[in-house]
Amino acid sequence: MPEIVKTLSTDVLVVGGGGAGLRSAIAASEANPKLSVTLLSKVYPMRSHTVAAEGGAAAVTLGHDSLQAHFDDTVAGSDWLAEQGVVDYFVKHAFEELVQLEHWGCPWSRQQSGEVQVRRFGGMKTERTWFAADKTGFHILHTLFQTSLKYPQINRLDEYFLLDLLVHEQRCYGVLAIEIASGELVQIKAASVILATGGAGRVYQFNTNGGIVTGDGMALAYRHGVALRDMEFVQYHPTGLPGSGILITEACRGEGGILLNKEGYRYLQDYGLGPETPLGKPQNKTMELGPRDKLSQAFWHEQQQGRTISHPQGEVVHLDLRHLGQRYLLERLPFICELAKAYVNVDPVKSPIPIRPAVHYTMGGILTDANCATSIAGLYAVGECASIGLHGANRLGSNSLTELLVFGKVAGREAARVASEPHPEATDALISKLTEQAVSPLKRLHSGNGTERWHELRQQLAESMEQGCGIYRCEAGLQQTLSTLGQLQHRYQQLRLGDTGKAFNTERLHALELGFGLDVAEAMCQAALERKESRGAHQRQEPGLTNRNDQDFLRHSLAFYQAGSGARIEWQTVDTSLSPPAERRYGGQPQTDKPPKESC
């Protein structure tokens, strides 16, 4: 039985060392320099998945752009499921946050004049995406990490794994963590806790995500009664590499890349995104610069109609960058050139890159208010793990990096405020009791009685989600996946670990992550099943459900945890106070959504 070996205490505890976590930790330190801030992460911060973001971060920058336009693009991109007050706050604070990052040393790409350069991005009316070549997330993450080293009050716990939250009567008193190197349990008391634990894309088989993106924080908040909102909206990025799912940035299309089917035809014009734009003259919100949901759906239709290309690792279409020329590609998209060469043996200067959609981002997450507060006092959530309401049914590329900064600052400031005010402290007896409850899953894992292996279960989870809860969904498919998830939950109780050691027992961590993933996947599927309409990234195939239905579903889904029996769904009103629902339009053509062929 694992024993608690260390007890720590801090004012503000940030869980997660990615962009949102680092920005929160810095904001908390600046809000009240007397506070102790602890940054706990299961990996060294610079390994966090923010590192893999490529394309850029959005903020209104050019003279002819406007906050209203960024707001409108984001709300339309969300298929009117974004919280409009939150979007309004976001667009107003985006620019200052990117400037702040510039003042911290971020190597943004520049114009000849020395001013910051912006590029086109999907679903955005105007060029407003700041970038650092095609490694924007990498540079943002390293800039934040390096800047965080300036603050002596930030104490890092690198390679500590979040096992559970210590919650009693709707208040969070801290967390229980595993020090990965020793395998020992560590109790950390905190006045406020910020979850910045990232998304859950690894519950799918084909995804652009790092191995660490396993929904840990989402699952833990959910188990303690916080709703997961809008979980049915899972973003498939239209351009991942076949096999691995490695991300090929949307910036390729922002810079003028085109998508071709097996006939060499720019098929997007058949899906309400045309008219075809001349080669080398990309137009905002048109063709390849349509939003991600529409592009991934168009691929699905092309595949159904046999117009995709067979590749040793599955069906693909081509992303053609050749007309951009070597010099431009190496300046703007050097990482893409490196990735294509290493992972599919293609030189984008000479040949098109084979690509397919891959799960990229969870639009939904831990329900928070506009101040990043959850329904549990002292518990905050921010970044991809959270649902503050910015992305609705479909996120626009380059809004999420900015989100980490804008709302990371808010979360840090709020958590610092709460920690600075008088707040109740838990007795040692209460902490012991909560800890006792929190270690029970570990006890079970170590009992050695089971027969099931984590990697088989994880594989089946990923396949089943891809199968039943993918780009297009139907009741039968979703029911099948839910039933598989139920079986996997049952088998999960019978897990047996081959590694019985404590130090760096990564098998144990993978097993715990699998447990988180199963709960999050159930919330995704149940919400998808009950949303009987098509909106943004959630598309239903059944007759009558293929269109948006504002009458019944202009609402957020809220998934509540029920131990042992999947998710319970409730519905929540959407803030549409600033922009009434209207038709989403891209390209120069009237909307012509294709009803999907029934294949369920």
């Binding site: 060294y44 390096q146 080293l149 490695i246």
Partner: protein, 245 residues
């Protein structure tokens, strides 16, 4: 599917007195990376095998490992290039914690020591600095370091003397020193001028050879030596009052 022999260095701190070798066979095709091979072993043959990884796309810097004695990223090294089989060991010059996992804390300490952040007069709060592409180009390559530690595994000096700041930390200091927005060079020079700074380097240059991201830490060290020399000369001629400031 063809198979390939992999000899792995194992070390389980709770059982083993010292590292030892263990042989495995893995299936592979043209796309199988060393990281994929490790996952195959962990999933199907020995679940206690431990190694770090995350992004699978050579940007997070987690999966550094010695491949036939050469430091490499596991996710960007392919079995197809080793038809005679390969030998995997934890990154050299770092203490081993378990199997392929090494203790990176000294590396982190060195990074922290050189003050790797912009030290500047407060800029006008609402606008970015100007920085031309030419100014950006001066330091850009040094900002591409992913902190994977391969250059430390390649550095004989770090192996002999772990207090040596090492290639990545010196390159990072250089990155900020070269940034047109920075004025913190004087604060960093104390570290760079010290025995553990640029003068510790014996200029083998292997660090730059193994870098998976095309960063040239050896150039940073060399340019740092010039800066350090100039710094020394300037200190020599400065009035005492200013030196003590």
């Amino acid at each position: 599917m063809p198979t390939l022999a992999i000899r792995l260095q194992r070390y389980q701190p709770e059982q083993d007195n010292a590292p030892h070798w263990q042989d495995f066979r893995v299936e592979y095709d043209d796309s199988t990376s060393v990281l994929d091979a490790l996952e195959q072993i962990k999933a199907g043959q020995d679940s206690s095998l431990s190694y770090r990884w995350s992004c699978r796309m050579a940007i997070c810097g987690s999966c550094g490992v010695m491949v036939n004695g050469v430091p490499k990223l596991g996710c960007k090294t392919f079995l197809r290039d080793y038809p005679k089989g390969l030998q995997l060991a934890p990154l050299g010059n770092f203490p081993v914690e378990k199997d392929l996992i090494v203790d990176m804390s000294r590396f982190l300490d060195h990074l922290t020591a050189i003050k790797p952040y912009l030290i500047a007069e407060a800029a006008p709060p609402s606008q970015p600095h100007r920085q031309t592409p030419a100014q950006l180009a001066r330091y850009k390559q040094f900002s591409n370091c992913i902190n994977c530690g391969l250059c430390y595994a390649a550095c004989p000096q770090f192996g002999l003397k772990p207090d040596f700041l090492g290639p990545a930390a010196i390159a990072l200091a250089h990155r900020y020193n070269l940034d047109s927005r920075d004025s913190g060079k004087a604060e960093r020079m104390a570290q760079l001028n010290s025995d553990n700074g640029v003068w510790g380097c014996t200029f083998v240059g292997y660090c730059s050879t193994v870098c998976p991201k095309g960063v040239d830490p050896a150039a940073a060290v060399n340019q740092g030596k010039i800066a350090s020399t100039l710094d020394g000369v300037i200190q020599w001629f400065k009035p005492a009052k200013e030196q003590s400031k």
